[in-house]
């Protein structure tokens, strides 16, 4: 019986190590770029010149001046026109859109149409795409999806290991230090980590493989999961028969105010115009209820539908009106998407994910340290996994910093601007791999990467000020807090990287002391 338990522990440990090192690097990338995805609303405003405008109160905007010319165009669709209000995802612009046309963007302050940078500026979008493997298309989705399942495998296995095995927490040597940090960090962060990873796996591979399940449970009606779940999770807008009688519409600002009176708890985000300018016209105003986190924001969007003619209430959808499966759906996806949440919550989750990235990194260091023990003492440790890990985990920092630095240095009218930016990012990241192989001493290479990343992150806000014609003071006084916060964040991050880059030891005996002392 005792032998069985020993073998079981050995197997658990072995399977955890094997799976861990296999999935570690891609998992780290998902978490690393995921942190930028959490900060996406701020980055997407920082990156575009057209968003360096003041925020307006949604009830005080002159919507008619902007919207009427757009929807009067005979080529513009006539129904279910969507207006995205300023402030949604911290974006100060007003957007008029429809499924089948290019959106039209307005500065609500000047009421003028603005030139959206579109494909020329995709920094935040790109960082989000890197988070789930989109650059590699279907192959990327599958790889990241399988790695997410691997992550769940590791979390469950790791928790069982921590319960079953009495680990030594003395941490007098680098190996024990790495082991302790890896275990302690991930034991603390696993609850949000497991939920976020679970929803990530669902998005990347869960839906793709749902065809047989859908076919069976629908008794052969359909194999498309969205045919089954859309009516519950994302019900379509009810069709309203057009009367073909013209009528005057109430100002949208007034309709928003009426909606606020009916349900003051909602932060309104989008308006859908149904049968606009007809006597049967309605407006559906939907948003997010910040007082009921976890229960709304994804599929469950509280809304108020008013008559556009007299402002009378037609329909109201509150948070708790959603079917329990929709509430469950939103509660699981909430931590992953963080739609509508405040800055403090975003920063809290970003911090937890940063800490978990360190936890993953220490796991890799632990594995490498065990491999290094097989090398003779005076021989530098030169291993392909060490060099690959170095370029993926640390080398990604200067490559990402270069992305930010290029954002405000590459001209916005440069042909194929984004291809250059994206391409230079990947090439510079690959160059860190070449450099990692060239530099026999990995710590020396790591210091160089950290210092380079630090310098580039510090330069990014400086390039921003020079090329945007906005200074920090100007941005602050104009209330563009989101943009200022990104500049300050980049600056602080750069300084931190520089400090670590200088303090990290390089010589073998110093490295041993560094990881053994009380940190």
């Amino acid at each position: 019986m005792k032998e069985t338990t020993i073998f079981l522990k050995q197997r658990l440990q072995r399977v955890h190590v094997a799976a861990g090192i296999t999935f570690s690097l891609v998992m780290y990338l998902a978490v690393f770029f995921g942190i930028f995805a959490i900060l996406l609303p701020y980055i997407q405003v920082w990156e575009k010149p057209s968003r360096h405008i003041e925020y307006m109160d949604v009830t005080k905007i002159d919507y008619a001046t902007m919207i009427d010319p757009v929807i009067s165009d005979p080529n513009f669709p006539t129904n279910n026109i969507q207006i995205t209000l300023p402030g949604y995802q911290h974006d100060p612009i007003l957007k008029v859109s429809h499924q089948f046309v290019e959106p039209v963007y307005f500065d609500p302050n000047t009421k003028e149409q603005i030139n959206n940078e579109g494909d020329q500026s995709q920094l935040a979008k790109f960082l989000n795409h890197m988070h789930y493997g989109r650059p590699l298309k279907t192959f990327g989705y599958l790889i990241f999806g399988f790695v997410a399942v691997g992550g769940l495998f590791l979390i469950i296995g790791g928790l069982i290991l921590v319960i079953m095995i009495k680990y030594n927490n003395n941490a007098k040597k680098p190996i024990s230090r790495f082991s302790k940090l890896h275990r302690k960090i991930l034991t603390w962060v696993f609850p949000p980590f497991i939920i976020i990873t679970l929803t990530g796996a669902l998005m990347n591979i869960g839906y793709t493989a749902s065809a047989p399940m859908t076919y069976l449970v629908s008794k052969g009606e359909t194999h498309r999961i969205f045919d089954l779940t859309s009516p519950i999770l994302f019900p379509p807008i009810q069709n309203v028969e057009k009367q073909n009688i013209s009528a005057d519409m109430l100002p949208i600002g007034e309709l928003i105010q009426k909606a606020s009176t009916i349900n003051p708890a909602i932060d309104f985000q989008k308006i859908t115009l149904i049968n606009w300018k007809d006597i049967s016209a309605q407006v559906k105003i939907e948003g997010y209820n910040p007082y009921m986190p976890f229960l709304n924001g994804i599929s469950n969007k509280p809304s108020i539908t008013l008559s556009a003619v007299d402002g009378s209430l037609i329909r109201q959808h509150k948070v708790m009106d959603k079917h329990w499966s929709g509430l469950f759906f939103d509660s699981m996806y909430f931590l992953h998407f963080l739609f509508g949440v405040d800055t403090f919550t975003r920063l809290l989750i970003a911090t937890i994910m940063s800490v978990s990235a360190f936890g993953l990194g220490f796991g890799v260091l632990l594995w490498l340290e065990k491999k290094a023990k097989k090398f003779p003492r005076n021989i530098p440790f030169y291993h392909w996994m060490a060099k690959l890990s170095l370029s993926v985990i640390i080398g990604v920092l200067p490559a990402t910093a270069l992305l930010f630095a290029m954002q405000w240095t590459l001209p916005f009218d440069l042909k194929d601007r984004f291809i250059w930016q994206e391409g230079i990012f990947f090439v510079s990241w690959l160059a860190t791999f070449t450099w990692s192989l060239y530099r026999i001493n990995s710590y020396q290479a790591a210091k160089e990467f950290l210092k380079l990343a630090g310098v580039l992150f510090i330069l990014s806000p400086i390039f921003h000020y020079i090329n945007s014609d906005f200074s920090l003071i100007q941005l602050w006084y104009q209330g563009l807090v989101q943009i200022v916060s990104v500049d300050i964040g980049l600056m602080i991050f750069g300084i931190l990287l520089l400090i670590v880059g200088f303090r990290l030891p390089q010589k073998n005996n110093e490295i041993q002391k560094f990881w053994s002392k009380d940190l």
């Binding site: 279907t138 250059w420 090439v427 160059a431 192989l437």
Partner: protein
Amino acid sequence: MKKLLSTLFLLLVTNLYAHTLIMNIMDNDDNTMTIAGTFSTGQSAVDALIRLEALNNGAILFQKRLPDDGELTIAIPKEPYQVVLDGGPGHTIVKEGIAPIDGFDVTKITEIKQPKKLSKNMTSRNSWSLPYIVLISITLLLIVLSIYVSKRNTDKIIRMIQESKQ
């Protein structure tokens, strides 16, 4: 039982493109055609734009958004044309137009001041533009350099190990 077993083999397929736009063109055999726009989910593409473009100069022969039933019946033009279903950014489907019963009349050309560019299916991309060529060249160079540097350093380490054993 067979149905049950066969569905189990569908494990990794089918759901990759859940929401693609589809255009169907039906010849009514009376010099008219019916154009329908739908999504792959079966939902009709109401308000998507249908456009007929002359093949020789890109002139727009007809343009209208799909009504509530998702279908349009229109007369077949007498000159060669293509049918475009414009579903917004990144969703354009182009198909060659059906000929009328008596065939196309090549003398019938719609005159316009300046020839226009024809719409294309929004799937292809010019993969060999300058940035791609430059960046792929640098990538290949870095890969070769990585292999060379790795081999050089590995030989160096092996020499060091051998020397330390002596």
